[in-house]
Every structure is written in structure tokens, then in C-alpha cells.
């Protein structure tokens, strides 16, 4: 296996999160809908109907092209790809062939070992999705709800070298899609679908050998596993004197197995030609500029800036830029705090993310604003409340929406820093534990911790720990 290099190219289909379909005014998303209830004469291919392009699909497609560092085509065109299949009601798919919306492009993968893999984009174009079919007792049943959903098809060059890299590509792509807001990129719902082309070659060789295509590798794990399996199969085949044939394989995620779908020898003739029902998609220089300008700072750039500007570790920076609103939350909190990036980072990574997971919310959806978080951290750092109280406050603020300072006052959560009041309480505790006091005085100084615990319990954790120690030592040593 280690004598061989695995060559992988990924073909992804990305569902754009527009309100409506690409060529008609039906809803784009039919996840919750009964079959064939979100259709119209256009997407179900009735005779006489015509496609009308959704401008938002164009804008989102162009934004993705920009985010992938591709050139945005000022005049792209649509073509017809002709073939018969029951899920394709017109008998042709409207897609882009030789004048796609994006040209070129790349994505740099940051591998966990610190290496970077540069992946070039071979193709990036807009097209319409087909419907869904399922087999029931030998009959194929067709649902057109998904027909006409706007997709971007994006194909990489064969630049990936392992299942892990392919998985990382999908992880970063998914992050990017959500980051720039063009797709929900939910793989379970088919918003991001993937086919993988896999071939092998002897290390050091430059040739591209016959590849197989694995269909339906629709999760991060599936990509990693399926490619691993297929590379292993190809190596074993070649090692035993066989040759790899151009198959299309299907990945069965449940059984973790590849099955052969068909030989690709008889490549279909799609007879592409220009779609006469649509005009060229013209994007002016200003429009293209506006699309570029409208892009947020991209994840990799922000991640590096966080390391540089805030002195965060690579690990922290990666987590905080894992999702766009989280990274924005961080910066907002730093601004409110007026610094404190390290502790904000710690609070966010350790505590805030747990809260978000529990509540299934993104940072943007939190009621606990960055300003509130900054306030809580400040209260802790100034000793006004202890850390445990601070952590509890996160949830209280999220649930009530109230200002943390207000909650601290109303609920009396501030630490007891009045030495007179604390002394009275400690005296009472010592009076109630004569044996322990005697033992301590006899030299068992490790009991100090136990006394501190008693005080904390009695004060509901609000006693200032430093002051508690001082008073305890004073009273015990006398």
C-alpha cells in the first residue's frame, strides 16, 4: 500500500439556499413536503413551459465562485444536457457547459498535521437538480419536488491524496458554504452531495491511471471510508496482476461496502447544446465587484488573523473560526471587554460552546450577547463573583435575557468580601466542629481545605476564598 499514491478528485453538488427553485417559483426546499406537492408546470416539464432564471441563484453561485477564488464569468450561459430518465421531466437537464459562472478556483486544506494541500477547482457551474425515485415492489415511483432545486456543481482537479484529505476538503467546503451563507450544507439532507473519482499509481509516477467513480459518498465518514476501501481494492487488484477498469461504484454506508453499479465503457452521449429558452447571464463589472465586496473575511484568513492579532493558539483559532458567527461573537466580546482575548477564548471554548451544544444554538442565536459575556468575565476577574458563579450566570443570562450585573445583585451572588460578616460565620463553623479544630491545632494542617469547604457550603460558594483562608488561619492559630 505504501508504494502507491492515491489520486482523488471530488465532484460535489451544492444545494443553494434560495427561497425558490432555479427556474420556477416553487419553494427550493421540500424537505417536509409530501411527494409532488411542491411542483408546477415548469419544474415538472409540462409541454409549452419555459424556464425563468432566479437572480438569487446566480448571485449565490457567483458568491461561491468568488469565495473559491474562481474567476466570475461576466457572461455565462446555460445548455441542455439530454438524456432519458424518469426523474428528469423535460428529458434534459439545464446546466452550464462551456460558459459556466465560475472559472478556475482553489481551496487550501489545512491538514491536522499542519500541512497544507492546495486543491484546484476544475469546474464550477449552476444547474438544476433532478427529482427523486424509489423502487416499491418492482415499480419505480417518481417525486418531482426536488426538480429544479438550484445546484452548483463543483469538481476538483485530481489533487487529493487520501481519504483524510478528501474528508478535510468536505469539512472545509461545508464550513465555507455556511460561512458565506450560500448553502445550509446539511449533508444528511442532501444539500452537499459528493462523488469521488479514485485511481492509484506507483509513488514517483506522474501518470493518471484509470479511475473509478464512487457515487453517493454523502458524509464525511463515508468519503474517508469509501476512498480507503477503494484504494485498497485497487492496490490489491494491481498487485495480483489485475487492471483497474472504469467502473461506477456505489457506496453502501450501512454495510460499509462498495458495489458495482455499471461499467462506464458506454459513456452516454448527452448532445449538449445551448439552451435557447434562456438568455446569457450577464454580470456587470460593478455587480461582480459588489458580490466580491459582499463576501465576509473567509475562514482561513480569519483563522490566521486570530493567531496573529490576538495571539491565540492554532487550536483555539481553529475552533473560534469553525463557524462564522462564533468568530464574530469572539471579536465582539473582545471589543466589549477591551482586550481579554485569552480569557474570552477560554470561556468561549470551554463553557459557551457547551451551552450552545446543549441548546442547539449557533453563536448568532444566543440571547447571551458578547457584551454580557464580557461583563461576566469582568465580574469574575475583578473578584466580584467567583468562577463557578460566573459559569452558572451564562445559563441564567441566556434563559432570562437579563443583564448579568442585575442578576448578581438581585440574587445576591456577589462574593462575601466583608471580613466582619465572614468572620462571624466562620466562628460559628469552628464552634460547631471542636474535634477538627483540635486535630488541626495538633498539627493536622491539611484540614484547612476541609474548613474552606465548610465555609463555601455555608455561604453558597459566595465567600471570597482568599479572605476565608486568612480569617480561618487567624482564628485556628490562636
Amino acid at each position: 500500500m505504501k508504494d502507491y499514491e492515491v489520486i482523488i478528485g471530488l465532484e460535489t453538488h451544492i444545494q443553494l439556499n434560495t427561497v425558490t427553485k432555479i427556474f420556477c417559483s416553487c419553494k427550493a426546499d421540500s424537505w417536509e413536503d409530501e411527494p409532488n406537492t411542491n411542483i408546477c408546470p415548469v419544474c415538472s416539464g409540462l409541454p409549452g413551459v419555459l424556464p425563468v432564471l432566479n437572480e438569487e441563484a446566480v448571485r449565490k453561485g457567483a458568491a461561491l465562485a468568488a469565495a473559491m477564488h474562481a474567476e466570475i464569468n461576466p457572461e455565462s450561459r446555460f445548455d441542455r444536457k439530454n438524456y432519458f430518465y424518469p426523474d428528469l421531466p423535460k428529458g434534459y437537464q439545464i446546466t452550464q457547459f462551456d460558459q459556466p459562472i465560475g472559472k478556475g478556483g482553489c481551496l487550501d486544506l489545512k491538514m491536522p498535521d499542519g500541512q497544507t494541500r492546495h486543491v484546484r477547482i476544475h469546474k464550477l457551474h449552476l444547474e438544476e437538480d433532478a427529482g427523486k425515485t424509489k423502487i416499491e415492489h418492482g415499480t419505480r415511483l417518481v417525486d418531482f419536488n426536488r426538480c429544479g432545486v438550484p445546484l452548483v456543481e463543483m469538481v476538483t482537479e485530481p489533487d487529493l491524496r487520501s481519504g483524510d484529505e478528501a474528508a478535510q476538503y468536505l469539512i472545509q467546503l461545508r464550513q465555507l458554504l455556511r460561512w458565506i451563507g450560500v448553502s445550509e450544507a446539511d449533508m444528511e439532507r442532501g444539500h452537499l452531495r459528493c462523488d469521488a473519482n479514485v485511481s492509484i499509481r506507483k509513488r514517483g509516477s506522474e501518470v493518471l491511471n484509470t479511475k473509478t467513480e464512487i457515487k453517493n459518498v454523502n458524509s464525511i465518514d463515508a468519503v474517508r471510508q469509501a476512498i480507503g476501501e477503494e484504494a485498497k481494492r485497487q492496490v490489491e487488484l494491481v498487485e495480483s496482476g489485475g487492471t483497474v477498469k472504469s467502473y461506477t461504484l456505489d457506496w453502501d454506508a450501512d454495510r460499509g461496502k462498495l458495489t458495482m453499479m455499471r461499467s462506464k465503457e458506454s459513456e452516454a452521449d448527452y448532445r449538449y447544446f445551448r439552451e435557447p429558452d434562456l438568455l446569457p447571464v450577464v454580470l456587470s463589472e460593478e455587480k461582480i465587484e459588489a458580490i466580491r465586496a459582499g463576501l465576509p473575511e473567509l475562514p482561513m484568513v480569519r483563522r490566521e488573523r486570530f493567531e496573529r492579532e490576538y495571539g491565540l493558539s492554532a487550536y483555539d483559532a481553529e475552533i473560534l473560526t469553525g463557524e462564522r458567527s462564533l468568530s464574530e461573537y469572539f471579536e465582539a466580546a473582545v471589543k466589549c471587554f477591551g482586550g481579554g482575548e485569552k480569557s474570552i477564548s477560554n470561556w468561549m471554548i470551554n463553557d459557551l460552546t457547551r451551552l450552545m451544544n446543549d441548546l442547539d444554538k449557533t453563536a448568532a442565536e444566543l440571547i447571551l450577547t458578547p457584551a454580557f459575556l464580557a461583563e461576566i468575565i469582568r465580574l469574575v476577574e475583578e473578584g466580584k463573583i467567583n468562577a463557578a458563579t460566573g459559569k452558572n450566570l451564562l445559563r441564567k443570562v441566556e434563559e432570562s435575557g437579563r443583564d448579568p450585573v442585575e442578576i448578581v445583585e438581585a440574587e445576591g451572588l456577589a462574593v462575601i468580601a466583608d471580613s466582619g460578616a465572614l468572620r462571624t460565620q466562620i466562628e460559628a463553623i469552628l464552634a460547631g466542629a471542636p474535634d477538627e479544630v483540635a486535630n488541626f491545632k495538633a498539627g493536622k494542617e491539611s484540614l484547612l481545605g476541609w474548613f474552606v469547604g465548610q465555609v463555601m457550603r455555608a455561604t453558597g460558594g459566595k465567600a471570597d476564598p482568599k479572605l476565608t483562608r486568612e480569617i480561618l488561619l487567624e482564628l485556628l492559630k490562636n
Binding site: T18, V19, T20, S25, C26, K27, E34, P35, N36, T37, N38, I39, C40, P41, S44, L46, V52, L53, N54, E55, E56, A57, V58, F84, P86, I135, E136, H137, G138, T139, R140, L141, V142, D143, F144, D269, R271, R274, P276, L279, V281
Partner: protein, 102 residues
């Protein structure tokens, strides 16, 4: 000069690509007619094209409709569409399986 002809083999391939099947009578008629039409089409190969000529898709440059706004307008009673299908089951259009045997 002899004219280019579509071969019987290519013709058969085209029949498959077109998802048709033909009787012998139809085949011989259509095969001949196609070759007649091809004679007309082939006459185009003699037409010299000046370098600056770009393919024209519509003749007139359509000053067409701009892309539409992304606004949902549901089609009323979509079940009317499925009602047109020769065969349907539970609101789904039914066809034989690709592999057959139903």
C-alpha cells in the same frame, strides 16, 4: 462528387439514442429521407465563414426579461399535474423499474 451518407449502423445507433423502435418499412423510409436531408445540410460545408462571424442563437439579440426575484409563488392545486400521469401511486408517478421485472 458524391454526397455523404449516414450508414445503416449509425442509423441504428441513432434510433437507440432517440429511444425509438421502428418497423422495417419505417426504417427504410426514414433512412432514405435522412440521407436526402443530409445532402441539403452538407451543402453548408461549402459556405465560407468570415473570421469575425460569431454563432447566432436567436438572430435578433433578445432584449429579454431580467432574471426573476427570488419570491415563492406556489402553483395552485399541483395534484392536477400528477393527475395527467398514465399511472400513479399515492401521489407519485409510477413507471417500470429500470432493470425490469415488475
Amino acid at each position: 462528387m458524391t454526397v455523404k451518407r449516414i450508414t445503416p449502423e449509425l442509423f441504428e445507433k441513432l434510433v437507440g439514442l432517440a429511444a425509438l423502435e421502428l418497423t422495417d418499412e419505417e426504417s427504410s423510409y426514414l433512412f432514405e429521407e435522412m440521407n436526402h436531408q443530409l445532402a441539403s445540410v452538407e451543402s453548408l460545408s461549402q459556405v465560407p465563414i468570415p473570421e469575425d462571424v460569431q454563432p447566432s442563437l436567436h438572430g435578433v439579440e433578445p432584449e429579454g426579461t431580467a432574471p426573476r426575484a427570488d419570491r415563492w409563488v406556489p402553483f395552485p392545486r399541483p395534484e392536477r399535474i400528477i393527475a395527467l400521469a398514465p399511472e400513479s401511486e399515492n401521489g407519485m408517478i409510477a413507471v417500470p423499474d429500470v432493470k425490469g421485472a415488475r
